[in-house]
């Protein structure tokens, strides 16, 4: 992200002298370190509590797709691959559906909408964020999933003879509770946050850049791709990442609509399960190593989020280098 250089007038305020300044810098340092400390503590305590499961399972905790706390014979097996898969697939679907819609809304609000409309439109989108996730979940289970079954069936029939696509859009599960339904619900849930951050980012594009594009004879669309997107790419990726974080961590809504099956399949219309959902479903009645394994799922989810965030940072840095390189 590009940082504005502080100007002289920002630095010389009314000010309360050196002591206040020192207090202020201590305070900000402390709060900054607090975040790190909290992260470190969460990571160490959860890892410690999950240790028995990690020890029993070794690397197969993340490479095995068998999750069987009470097998017919032998020791319990905890392999979380199916749940990692479910988390990733449902979040990806959410991004594929949610991000174009969010950026569309944000562009409309910043570039196209009449000024009168903006305030109320922003309010409506923000109101989506105020709906509790359990309400989304219940709506998904009671209304959306049974309706979507027919849509899924239609899509499945259309692509039945197309290779690759016929395995992605496979036979829909009878209840409609599937990766796809979870993705749709998650898409709706991430739209407010992605939209509002994208809107902020897009509104920072200097008017001069836009005017310059228009002056060169660009159409509205050419102005947006040529002037707005390059300037705000980093911020938009940041918005998408926040949305992804929300989607991967979402628990109760996903738990209700994803279908509760331990399943790895390319078919997005089949039921599955996500890490967060499994934790909330099974934690209450678990004991011993089983509990440790569920906490272990939390550690894996945490790790996955960190990896994805780092990857996103890398993408942003590269893209910005390219954009700036082209500009100079």
């Amino acid at each position: 992200m590009t940082q504005e250089e502080p100007t002289r007038s920002d630095l010389t305020g009314k000010g309360g002298g050196v002591r206040i300044e020192r207090l202020f810098s201590w305070w900000t340092l402390a709060t900054g370190l607090l975040v790190l400390a909290i992260l470190a503590l969460i990571l160490t305590t959860t890892t410690k509590q999950a240790w028995p499961a990690f020890q029993d399972m070794g690397l197969s905790f993340i490479t095995s797709s068998t999750w069987d706390p009470n097998p017919a014979s032998g020791n319990p097996v905890f392999g979380s691959l199916a749940f990692i898969y479910g988390t990733v697939v449902s979040s990806l679907i959410a991004l594929l559906i949610g991000v174009p819609i969010s950026i569309g809304i944000a562009l409309f609000l910043t570039e196209l909408a009449p000024r009168r409309l903006r305030g109320s439109a922003v309010m409506v989108v923000d109101m989506l964020a105020a709906i509790p996730s359990v309400v989304f979940g219940l709506w998904g289970v009671l209304v959306l999933a049974p309706l979507l079954v027919h849509v899924y069936q239609g899509i499945h029939d259309v692509f039945a003879s197309v290779p690759v696509l016929n395995s992605i859009f496979g036979e829909p599960v009878g209840t409609g509770r599937s990766f796809m339904t979870a993705g749709v619900i998650l898409a709706i849930m991430i739209i407010p946050i992605v939209t509002s951050i994208s809107r902020e980012v897009l509104s920072t594009v200097p008017q001069a850049n836009k005017d310059a594009a228009f002056a060169l004879g660009a159409t509205q669309w050419e102005m947006i791709t040529g002037a707005v997107f390059p300037h705000s790419f980093g911020g938009l990726v940041g918005a998408v990442m926040l949305g992804l974080g929300r989607a991967m961590g979402e628990t109760i809504a996903v738990s209700l609509v994803i279908g509760g099956a331990t399943n790895i399949t390319p078919n997005v219309f089949a039921g599955g399960n996500s890490m967060a959902a499994v934790i909330v479903q099974q934690f209450g009645e678990s004991t011993g190593t089983f509990t440790a394994a569920l906490i272990g799922l939390g550690v894996v989810l945490f790790g996955l989020t960190v990896v994805i965030n780092l990857a996103a940072r890398l993408v942003v840095r590269r893209a910005e280098a390219r954009v700036q390189g082209a500009a100079r």
């Binding site: 017919a72 199916a82 009878g174 959902a277 209450g284 009645e285 004991t287």
Partner: protein, 352 residues
């Protein structure tokens, strides 16, 4: 978890209040001690299995009329959590569908089992045009293992001579949360179809990938109700409430029996009761016995302080005597008199 925290906070509050009131009496069990007279007033706190929750709540409100000074609370947090809280001394007694295992956090010898009621676990289904269905244990096992995937499978047809079955796909619904109901259902399949059922038994089992999970009995009931071709195991009271179609299951004597409270009671009569009063009515013999009948117990401590012992005894005695007829109002099966007498005898073992 929130409820858990809340109950702990409430408990601490109560303990503090009582301590202040009594000027620090004997508080060796770490819980709230009844602050009243020996006639059984005070607070009884319990938590555990959600399966018998409807019945326990009815008994608690009926008991309120008999003993208005005593406040009994039962929190349906699930058998596992109930046992944990009981082991930590947070509750005075616990409800559980499963017996206590080593890693449940309750020390052996510190508790007694008291059987309370039993309930049939139904196999509920939704199949348009079919309102009568019979299943043998082997067919049932294969349906839930996703070996049978269509309703017109020859195995189902063989169990239902003369019925016209559509070629609808079967949607299997199971519990996604750890559950005593799952435990009893899978235990039944292990007992009744040992060579067919391969998934073992427990609160959570590794269901095949094409099945659907939902939370609580009501969640499974809802999938079945919503889905043409759906089948799932649901406790009797929720299945009746949701007006689901119930399959008749072939019992040990080879008779197809539909779930009913009478069928459950005859399964209890046919079950062998152990010395600690645990018993297994699953796959019990008897021509009228409904084979998937689940027991449920209260866990009592072997030692309470004097006031608490009186209160616990009085409440549990009420539950086992005057409270028993309430069971059928909420679709649970009362204990047969033999077992009831044995359960009452457990109360005499409570030391104070």
């Amino acid at each position: 978890m929130n409820r858990n925290m809340l109950s702990r906070l409430v408990l601490v509050g109560v303990a503090l209040a009582v301590l202040a009131g009594c000027g620090g009496g004997n508080d060796d069990n770490g819980g709230s001690s009844g602050g009243g007279t020996a006639s059984g007033s005070g607070q009884l706190k319990a938590s555990g299995a959600s399966f018998p929750d409807a019945y326990y709540q009815e008994v608690i409100s009926a008991y309120k009329e008999k003993a208005p000074d005593v406040t009994v609370t039962y929190n349906a947090v699930g058998s596992g959590t109930g046992k944990k809280e009981f082991g930590q001394g947070l509750t005075d007694f616990a409800g559980t569908d499963s017996t206590v295992k080593d890693d449940d956090g309750v020390p052996a010898g510190s508790f007694l089992y008291v059987p309370t009621v039993a309930g049939p676990i139904t196999v509920s289904y939704n199949l348009s045009g079919v309102d009568k269905l019979q299943l043998s244990p082997e067919t049932l096992a294969n349906i839930f293992q996703a070996k049978i995937t269509k309703w017109n499978d020859p195995a189902i047809a063989k169990d239902n001579p003369g019925a016209s079955l559509p070629d609808t796909a079967i949607t299997v619904a199971h519990r996604s949360d750890g559950s005593g109901t799952t435990n009893n259902f899978t235990k039944y399949l292990t007992a009744a179809a040992p060579s067919t059922w391969k998934l073992g038994a427990g609160d959570t089992v590794a269901w095949p990938s094409g099945t659907q999970g939902a939370e609580k009995n009501t969640g499974v009931a809802q999938i079945v109700k919503q889905t043409d071709g759906g089948i799932g195991y649901v406790d009797y009271s929720d299945a009746v409430e949701t007006k689901l179609n119930l399959a008749a299951i072939k019992n040990k004597d080879g008779k197809y029996v539909a779930p009913s409270l009478e069928g459950a009671t005859s399964a209890l009569a046919g079950a062998k009761v152990n010395d600690d009063l645990t018993y297994d009515p699953l796959n019990a013999s008897g021509a009228d016995a409904y084979p998937i009948t689940a027991p449920t117990y209260l866990l009592l401590k072997t030692k309470y302080d004097a006031d608490k012992a009186t209160a616990v005894k009085d409440y549990v005695r009420y539950l086992l005597t005057d409270g028993q007829p309430i069971a059928k109002d909420v679709n649970f099966a009362a204990l047969p008199s033999g077992l009831q007498q044995k359960a009452l005898a457990q109360l005499d073992k409570l030391a104070s």
